[in-house]
């Protein structure tokens, strides 16, 4: 890395679900339309990250009288744990803008057989469209379900963290468009410090559910380049609770494949030894 590693800190506690990030991303990166359907998933008609959706705002409705408008007022009073579940039919809304995590140990990059996926000078992970050959190996390798092949094209696409904008010293389009600074862009170390402070602040304000996700360099993917502050368990947002880069076990896999190959060779050799020469 010749430049400082940069990333996203997405603070979902201030996300208002405006989807400006989704729109800015589509516009800037000239991503094709990929379906206009009503899903009945709250205000989420985008459904998931994919080949043509590089920012996705999740909407979760929970039967809990702990609306986000109450957040600053909660100090010292009723905390999330104490409030009765399903109170007076009140809902709380969780909103979160998801994106490629730009993992420190990126499985998509590891398994790519062409070298199309590469690590940039900013520490991000980018697909080179002219090299991708559409093998689709990166798709099931990603523990977050981010990267996907575009139908009728076959090649894989995902968030580039606006590689072109970074090169020009600009911040990514989604962060630029976010009206509440829910999406923060910057040097990863700085973002991690800021995130730790924000969690403490929320805990002091009584929002005990606030937690960071993907911030820890010791997690299964070596920490995410794009990490989050969540207000519930990761799986509620469609995120894996404890993702692990699959290639962590690759040396063991090659070892077992080698042993299995030798067993095959040895087993068949034994069969020939047992049955002797010819005509039997």
């Amino acid at each position: 890395m010749s430049e400082e590693r940069v990333g996203f800190f997405t603070d979902t506690s201030v996300c208002i679900g405006c989807k400006a990030c989704e729109v800015a991303c589509k516009e800037w990166n000239a991503i094709p339309e990929d379906g206009l359907s009503l899903t009945a998933m709250s205000y989420d008609n985008t459904q998931a990250l994919g080949a043509s959706t590089w920012r996705h705002v999740a909407f979760i409705e929970q039967p809990r009288p702990e609306g986000r408008t109450e957040l600053p007022l909660a100090q010292g009073e009723s905390t999330a744990q104490e409030t009765p579940v399903g109170g007076d039919g009140e809902l709380r809304w969780l909103m979160s803008s998801d994106v490629c995590k730009h993992c420190t140990h990126a499985a998509c990059l590891d398994v790519c057989p062409t070298g199309s996926l590469f690590r940039t000078e900013f520490g991000t992970v980018v697909v080179q469209e002219d090299i991708c050959n559409g093998c689709g190996y990166c798709v099931p390798a990603c523990p977050y379900g981010v990267i996907e092949q575009r139908p009728h094209d076959g090649r894989a696409f995902k968030c580039t963290m606006c590689y072109d904008r970074l090169g020009a010293g600009r911040e990514p389009a989604c962060a630029k468009a976010c009206p509440t600074e829910s999406i923060q862009f910057g040097p990863l170390d700085e973002l991690r410090e800021r995130a730790a402070l924000r969690v403490d602040q929320l805990h002091e304000a009584g929002v005990t559910d606030a937690r960071l996700y993907g911030h820890d360099p010791d997690d299964g993917v070596g920490g995410d380049g794009a990490f989050f502050l969540l207000l519930d368990r990761p799986e509620v947002y469609g995120l894996p609770p404890d993702p692990v880069v699959t290639t962590r076990d690759l040396p063991a896999m090659w070892q077992h494949a080698g042993t299995a190959a030798l067993s095959l060779l040895g087993g068949l050799a034994a069969c020939f030894a047992l049955t002797g020469r010819g005509r039997r």
Binding site: M41, Q47, A58, I60, Q62, P63, V85, D110, V111, C112, P113, T114, G115, I131, C132, N133, G134, C135, G136, Y137, V139, P140, A141, C142, Y144, G145, V146, I147, G154, R233, E235, V236, G238, L239, P240, P241, D242, T246, T247, D249, L250, A252, M253, H256, A257, G258, T259, A260, A261, L264, L265, G267, L268, C271, F272, L274, T275, R277, G278, R280
Partner: protein
Amino acid sequence: MSTTGRAGRRRRRGEQPVVPRADFESYYGRPVIKAPSWAAPDIAGYFFLGGLAGAGSVLAAGAHLTGRTTTATALKVSSLAAVSLSAAVLIHDLGKPSRFANMLRVFKPTSPMSMGSWLLGAYGPAAGAAAASAVTDRSPRLGGAATGAAALLGPVVATYTAVLAADTAVPAWHGVHRELPYLFAASATAAASGMALVVGPTDENAPARCAAGLAALADAAVTKAAERRLGMVAETWREGRAGALLRAAQVLTAGGAVTGALFGGRRGGAVASGLALLAGSACTRFGVFAAGIASAKDPRYTVVPQRERLDEASA
């Protein structure tokens, strides 16, 4: 409501969660990871053909060395045919054949697909030369060397496909990354010995009948070990399309091996046994493939094991 209720969350004081919760949370029941878009006939078909070719080359070399020349030649031809078909289905799965060239841009040990491409690049010509020499009766020395090279590379061709599948986030594949290479080795042996029983004369098929027995035993034992390792994810190996295919695989492989052992000395018995073994191997590959897809499409198999791991770590 999207997320399953939290009502069942335990509130018992001082108690460890003993039994894993049956409920889990997800985002509108949507999958967490993305299933591969690979077509089953292409990729499961390739797993089968690669095994048939690879283990076939070992049987061919053994037959070659022990003077079972008819079987040796037939297996060399079947391995060449299988590896040629393999290349065809792999390139077909890329969508645009011209894109295949990019596969040979780099040599990348962290990518089983890259290693596999180079492996096939070495194995294919060896299998081709071995078959060409056997059929035309020319350059016996070169043919012998090619037969040996194919027999050494063949077992790796047969087992590396297990690494290809296991090196993903797919729970039903990655969860058995230790066991899958042995299952694929057993399945490849079953397929190749089945082919030997079908195409070889009965007075040359004793080694194949022995191999079929070994393969059936290993197949059954490794499948059991794999299901034990998978825990709740083993549901994907037992239920639905995958479950039906894997049960059929067990019956066909065991039945084929027993038929081969008892009636392999007669033409009809050998052919029936060989066909059952080939079908059993194909069912294993398509079954494992289907289990992987099922485990990727249901968030339960991604979320529950990871949540249990986290809860255990913090307990």
